[in-house]
């Protein structure tokens, strides 16, 4: 379960490819891939192990035109999905 204090970090060895506003992330070990839209791409870049989910929400609110509530829901969901795919870990 991801909490506000969880600190997500990109799994070592995962490759990322920038495609205009989007991104493709690929884990060659697990052969898992995901496509990220602009917001998810920004989130991915922020997941360097130095920010909690709370802090990630604050960054997303600053960068995008979304409310704190929306950002919280989107960040929580995206982090959970990327963790399930083994692309992020907490």
């Amino acid at each position: 379960m991801i909490s506000g204090d969880s600190v997500p970090i990109q799994v070592s060895g995962v490759l990322d490819y920038r495609l205009a506003e989007e991104m493709v992330v690929y884990d060659p070990v697990r052969s898992q891939a995901a496509s990220l839209n602009g917001t998810a791409r920004a989130l991915w870049d922020l997941c360097d192990g130095s920010r909690s989910v709370h802090m990630l929400c604050e960054e997303i609110v600053k960068r995008f035109d979304v409310s704190h509530e929306e950002a919280s829901s989107q960040v929580q969901s995206a982090v959970e999905q990327l963790c399930e795919l083994g692309l992020l870990c907490v």
């Binding site: 490819y17 989007e22 060659p28 891939a33 496509s35």
Partner: protein
Amino acid sequence: MRVERHKAFAEKIAIIETADASSSVIYVTFGTHHICVCSNNRAMLWHVARNISPMLTLEPIGTTAIGMFYIDEQQGGFLVGEEDCSEQRFDELGDAVRSLHHTLIKRFIDSRSDLVWIHAGAVTFGGEALLLVAPTGHGKSTLVGEFLDWGCSYLSDDVAPIDPISWGVLPFPVSPWKRVSSQARVPAERLHEVPKVPVQLLPTAIGMGRAPLRQIYFLCHDERLETNSIAPCSPAAMVLEMARNSFTSEEHRVGEIARLCALAHRVPAAYLNYAGAPIAARQIINALAASPSHR
């Protein structure tokens, strides 16, 4: 060596008999490679040949041999194998032919790991390639058949090799087949029950060389749809869809993802949600004819 030509589905199939008439041979070619298939039963070899007849050659000159396979009848069963390798036995001829067909395609794929191999139909329109990407049972062959009726050239109805340097689609012209149903709409889960019939293919309808890729369509067949729709597919989604429908082995997957990302920068992709192939093909032809190529 005696050469005979068998007429089948308005195509000519080259089956070559060895000098001592003990076996028959076909040569299957793709680009600069060829595979030899022989059999002790010419009628049986004909079943293999008719599925790949546009790829057969009478004499493989200047191409590299990448395999020598056989399909033999023996004691009421059928043996499929490769020279000096293990063989498989089948009780049904259809199973033996299907297994050999897939083995031949896999050998070509393995021999050209420099290409991106996609599970897709491919035709050319105005000299440029359209890629119709989908898993089995989503209407690739049927849609390809419809495009041929519109004067498009045939590249493949199942396997599309893409050159990642020129981003051209190479011809891989296995014999095209399409499903013909007496019902207007068939549920997706019952599509496999609809019989396939060969598509009449004139030799002049087969694309001879690589064609620059103009547009990629990901097919979503749904017989419940009232109207067809073409929705844009973002570059990142395109990469994932292509990777899902790729024949590339895991060991080459990293390189392929990078290549697909490069492709996504250059070629537009869309989801084609459709119920009927004839209308979908017409809509695409009209849309392409109305818009200039991005090249």
